[in-house]
């Protein structure tokens, strides 16, 4: 987004390493609509995932370039946002150029995150990095997830910082051995990663189990942590849906898994066949069952939470903020009351446990604020 050019090009984002193109399945805004940063512009579909494209900045939607269901390469311009006073001729010119680019296939390839593997305590830890900013952000996923779940957050934040997303042991492309599966072991893996990458100061972001893990990391190395953003974190409060966790761990088929996954989102339609298939493929990798079962021991004590991270906050020096979806069924939003008053909580409407996928701008904004402070 150039400060000189009054016209903002809304482009097809790169939401995953393998994504090369996407389609707008529905325009939420129309030409002439005024939008604020983060407002939803369109529903976008790629072969892996569907999501809502958010406005990169404020302005008026002056021109819609991409048609519904038109295949647009990543980086291609799909709409133009500009202040109302920008002359129509300039918009026409920009629209023509964008259309020509799309028609001739001259769209520059957008590089996705750079992936890599480091070895920590004999375990391979897989990570993906995007952005080259001075500050560093580390995103840590939750139980059964992986670094790709941050796709709607990593890309926008990469404009302002170097953003890493890692796979915890037992997950994604990291080693599947979780040892005793304790918070300490997982925190050790994260700290090992930071050390190997030579990262001195980091803004930590963790969701669900990842939230408890980054809290443990911040408690162990308070000097390293610039800020702590917890997204629907485990380890705080009394309520937990043990049935969801056990259901996820024990499902042996797509049919068994699909209904369990609907608990993750405010809108059950987010549980696509692709999502369910990808999770089953993950669950069928050697070692994953054992990892998930072991981690259940950390997350649960009978039907109640098995981890209490609230004490750890006493050792954390960095400012703590929390983002929680009001419709969270797995770790209900009431758990936020267990956090100290000093932690700023932002409650997000129309979002469940996967708020970083459902309403990513809420998480992006929260982290961006910490980067600016």
């Amino acid at each position: 987004m150039s400060t000189e050019d009054p016209i903002t090009k809304v482009t097809m984002p790169k939401w995953s390493l393998s994504m090369t193109s996407g389609k707008v399945t529905d325009w939420i805004v129309a030409e002439g609509d005024e939008v604020a940063e983060g407002d939803e512009l369109a529903d976008v579909d790629t072969d892996k995932i569907a999501g809502a494209l958010e406005a990169p900045g404020p302005g008026v939607v002056r021109r819609i370039i991409a048609g519904v269901n038109e295949d647009i390469p990543v980086g291609g311009t799909i709409a133009l946002i500009a202040p109302a006073d920008v002359p129509e001729e300039l918009i026409d010119e920009a629209a023509r150029a964008a259309r020509e680019q799309l028609d001739t296939g001259a769209v520059e390839e957008v590089p996705g995150p750079v992936t890599g593997v480091v070895r920590v305590d004999g375990r391979a830890i897989s990570f993906a990095t995007l952005g080259e900013g001075e500050q560093t952000v580390l995103l840590v996923h939750g139980y059964g997830g992986d670094k790709n779940s941050w796709l709607f957050v990593q890309e926008p934040l990469s404009a302002q910082a170097t953003v890493h997303a890692i796979d915890l042991p037992g997950h994604g492309e990291s080693a599947k051995d979780v040892g005793d599966g304790s918070l300490d072991t997982l925190a050790g893996a994260v700290l090992g990663f930071l050390q190997q990458q030579g990262i001195g100061q980091v803004h930590l972001v963790g969701q669900s189990l990842g939230g408890a893990v980054v809290t443990a990391v911040a408690a162990r190395e308070p000097g390293k942590v610039a800020s702590l953003t917890l997204v629907a974190p485990a380890g705080f409060g009394d309520a937990i849906d043990a049935g969801y966790l056990r259901g996820f761990a024990s499902a042996t088929s797509r049919r068994e898994l699909k209904p369990v996954l609907t608990k993750l989102f405010a809108d059950p339609a987010q549980v696509t066949r692709q999502l369910t298939d990808d999770l089953m493929k993950y669950k069928r990798l050697d070692g994953v069952q054992q990892a998930l079962d072991t981690l259940l021991g950390t997350l649960l004590d009978g039907d109640r939470p098995g981890t209490d991270a609230s004490d750890l906050l006493d050792q954390v020096r960095a400012p703590v903020q929390v983002v929680w979806g009001r419709a969270d069924q797995v770790l209900p939003v009431g758990n936020a009351d267990a956090l100290p008053n000093s932690a700023r909580v932002s409650y997000v409407d129309d979002a469940g446990h996967m708020v970083h996928m459902e309403k990513p701008s809420a998480v992006v904004d929260a982290v961006a604020k910490k980067l600016e402070e």
Binding site: K176, T252, R273, K281, D286
Partner: protein, 337 residues
Amino acid sequence: MARTISYREAINEALAQEMERDPSVVVMGEDNAGGAGSPGDDDAWGGVLGVTKGLYHKFPGRVLDTPISGSAFIGAAVGAATAGLRPVAELMFIDFMGVCFDQIYNQAAKFRYMFGGKAVTPVVIRTMYGAGLNAAAQHSQCLYPIFTHIPGLKVVLPSSPYEAKGLLIQSIRDDDPVIFCEHKALYDTTGEVPEDSYTIPFGEANVVRDGDDVTIVALGRMVSVAEQAAAGLARQGVEAEIIDPRTTSPLDADTILESVENTGRLVVVDQATPRCGMACDISALVAQEAFGALRAPIEMVTAPHTPVPFAQSLEALYIPDAQKVANAVKKTMDWKK
């Protein structure tokens, strides 16, 4: 890390990883090592189409070249399985089953039953099937329906590299005799396959594509034919649901029935000949269990009731293609009482 590899490499990787993990897994068959003993690293051919290449050197003593006597070495594999090994024997062409069929269907398939549960026969018989490489009548058949018919055997038909690796690992870990059928025209096809070992359960069909208008059940190589047909049909506003059973024994009836309950139309595509085959098997199952849901008669797309031709022009007509599948779908869409 998932990366793009071929169907052939996926099978090779499954064998290598299982042999690494379990010392009782051995590989045997005609030319499975191939030229072994000649000097040099690249000597061993690794099978007639290179599927077992490299294993001979990685696992000395565990990859055996057998004489050209299917009856003898398949029998040996079956016997070895009951005695504690987990052999993966290669019946090079499924067309050769005739010379060793007794060992498979009268011995391997029945040991457990006839010995009152005392015998365990964890043998995997890998075999090539299918037309399309101009290999003519005696090297191109699809005889998996015959194995499917035999209680005591399990029959597996992977349609892609991801399926091939996961299903073969599952087959090797399975304690029953498994006939693992590889379409020879699929060896060079590629797809994303995780580096890690993983399994795919038997008796679980894969829904390859979602759709509300018609259910297409497709086997083996026909899955990609169905996908081509579905792409064309989508442009005409017809959304096909494609189901890949993955295993014909056990067969995932539930997924097929659930789909037909929703779409009301069924087309079964099988590259095998039409009599007593999977197309009839699945059609009868659906006609019996989901009769009320059907909005049109079931359509079957198969090879004709002839041996596989050698003339290229005829072989091209022999194999079901996307146009034939689309025509069958249209018949179900257009049908009126």
